[in-house]
């Protein structure tokens, strides 16, 4: 089984870092993983995508992900401009950063999980230059929806990536999102 995950965010939100942290967490469990950005010109604020592939065994694939089984949306406003379900497998899972009111009826045919990652990030003071950084919270929600790796591995990968307080509050964001994420 290969988990193929696509992240939708805006340039600067940390989608690429989230994909890489998921791979780092998988590697600590002896799994194989790959992460990569969309290969194009990226601008802060513009819709961007990032990808991760996680599997038990090493594989040889290097081509892009076109039929993900998990789609992660870091900013729900992207739903108005990008078809985030493009190529998503029928039994796929959607994980959306959203408050309780669910943004789009048409997404309900997929297994959908929501989490208010923005609220969690704001409460922990996770922002850079006015940007709320939701990527680490979203990682917690992904693990709740699909147990690709354990939440402990994710928290460890986060703490290994940023030392001290920054690592601690990002790991806490993941933990809270893991607890708060819920299926529709």
């Amino acid at each position: 089984m290969i988990y193929e995950i696509r992240f939708h965010g805006r340039g600067g939100q940390g989608a690429v870092t989230a994909a890489e942290l998921l791979v780092k967490a998988a590697v600590t469990e002896g799994k194989w993983g790959q992460s990569f950005p969309f290969f194009g010109a990226e601008r802060r604020g513009a819709p961007v995508t990032a990808y991760a592939r996680i599997s038990e065994e090493k594989h040889f694939i290097h081509s892009p992900i076109t039929e993900p089984n998990i789609v992660v949306v870091l900013d729900k406003k992207i739903l108005d401009v990008v078809d985030v379900t493009d190529g998503l497998k029928e039994d796929g899972t959607l994980i959306i950063n959203s408050s309780r009111s669910f943004p789009k009826e048409s997404l309900k045919k997929f297994r959908t999980c929501i989490v208010d990652a923005t609220k969690i990030a704001v409460s922990l003071g996770l922002s850079v230059a006015g940007w709320v950084i939701v990527n680490t919270a979203m990682l917690g929600a992904i693990i709740k929806a699909v147990p690709i790796v354990t939440i402990e591995s994710v928290m460890n990968a986060i703490r290994n990536n940023w030392s001290g307080r920054i690592g601690a509050i990002n790991a806490e964001a993941a933990r809270r999102a893991y607890e708060e994420a819920s299926f529709l």
Binding site: V23, K24, S35
Partner: protein
């Protein structure tokens, strides 16, 4: 230590482990991360190298030539237009017998302007007298760049080495990479010795000056025969690497090959997708295999000719174009087989130009099309997934 690294950072770690002494480079997408990371290593003192900033790739290679002539272990990296811009100095470096190592992140040449993957840049310089490798994974990339210094500095070779990697589909993909211990690498790769072609004021010698035709021809013969030693040296170095680090790659990477009837022959990270396609077809009763060229120059003609003699059909997938001639690797493979008694059926595919994706499903199609063409005896070249309607011309 297992680290999750991009292809570009795998290259930078390899340069760090090789204890390079002089780095000179000019940034270009998608190579920039390599020299950024190396600048960081130098700035933080992890790597005791001289980092020489320059205004162009031509000057970057000129600095490398100077530094390498003075006996320093020298590194640069480039891509696409950067490689073409430095090309005069690229030729000079090999003819001057300087063991410079240069990763090339292979990117399409414009116009139209394009930052994505294609191998035409790398293959255009195949006759520049450099040893050329092409990597499939980040692990192989790191290992090959370190091995490259051993091969380049071997007194039977004394030539620069280029290591190709795919723009984005390797340069920007993060994968687990086992980064070897520095102490072990030091044993494998001792400091560069004071070998011929190094300037030494106590033994004055002239290099690169005007030489008469007979001298020139003698030096070309020496360059050519050193190149002929490369395959042997590459195998030895790879075996030694295997003994210390437990990984080996060979000249040719054979996958599900030995009993294969139909084989895809290609280079780079995309060969991995071809391998997944072979795995898929094996489960469905097709004897599919993959042959990836790791060493692309000197072209391992004899080795290819020997091992393809038992294969029925070969698909050569070229991610490059010589306009009017077709795929460069196809041409090389065909001529390698000319004097072979058992020549397989060969079909060429021009695929993935300008960074167009070649997926696992595409490779399944290529295997199937090749078997069909084999039955029909249609050995022409196919432009795979070509769509002419997009141009409006």
């Amino acid at each position: 230590m297992i680290r999750v690294l991009t292809g570009n950072h795998s290259v930078a770690y390899a340069a760090l482990l090789s204890n390079v002494e002089v780095i000179s480079a000019y940034p270009i997408t998608p190579q920039t991360q390599i020299v950024e990371k190396l600048a960081e290593f130098v700035e933080t003192g992890q790597l005791k190298a001289k980092y020489v900033r320059v205004e162009s790739e031509h000057s970057a290679m000129a600095v490398c030539i100077g530094a390498s002539s003075a006996g320093a272990r020298t590194f640069t990296a480039t891509s696409s237009h950067g490689l073409l811009y430095m090309s005069e100095m690229v030729y000079w470096a090999s003819a001057a017998r300087l063991p410079i190592v240069m990763p090339v992140v292979c990117r399409t040449l414009g116009p139209p302007w394009n930052i994505w993957n294609e191998h035409t840049d790398f293959l255009l310089v195949r006759d520049y007298g450099w040893v050329q490798f092409f990597a499939e994974s980040n692990q192989e990339l790191l290992d090959t760049v370190v091995q490259a210094y051993r091969i380049a500095e071997d007194e039977r070779v004394l030539l620069p080495v280029m290591v190709g990697l795919d723009a984005f589909t390797l340069s920007h993909i993060s994968e687990p990479v086992d980064v070897p211990e520095m102490d072990l690498v030091k044993k494998f790769l001792p400091p560069r010795s004071n070998i011929p072609y190094v300037l030494d004021p106590s033994k004055p010698f002239t290099f690169g000056n005007l030489a008469y035709p007979s001298h020139h021809m003698a030096l070309k013969f020496m360059h050519h025969t050193s190149m002929e030693n490369v395959i042997k040296v590459v195998s030895e170095v790879d075996n030694e690497w295997n003994k210390i680090f437990g990984r080996s790659y060979g000249i040719l990477d054979k996958f599900m090959f030995d009993d294969a009837r139909v084989v895809i022959l290609t280079i780079g990270s995309s060969a991995g997708d071809a391998k997944e396609a072979a795995k898929y077809l094996r489960k469905r009763g097709v004897d599919a295999g993959v042959l990836r060229l790791r060493l692309t120059n000197p072209f391992p003609a004899k080795e290819i000719s020997n091992i393809l003699s038992n294969v029925e059909a070969v698909a050569v997938v070229d991610r490059n174009l010589s306009p009017g001639n077709g795929g460069i690797i196809l041409e090389k493979v065909r001529s390698s087989l000319y004097s072979s008694k058992n020549r397989p059926f060969i079909k060429g595919y021009l695929a993935g130009l300008g960074g167009k994706d070649i997926t696992v499903k595409d490779y399944v199609k290529i295997f199937e099309k090749t078997l069909e063409s084999y039955k029909k005896g249609d050995s022409g070249t196919e432009w795979f997934n070509l769509n002419l309607e997009v141009t409006n011309l």
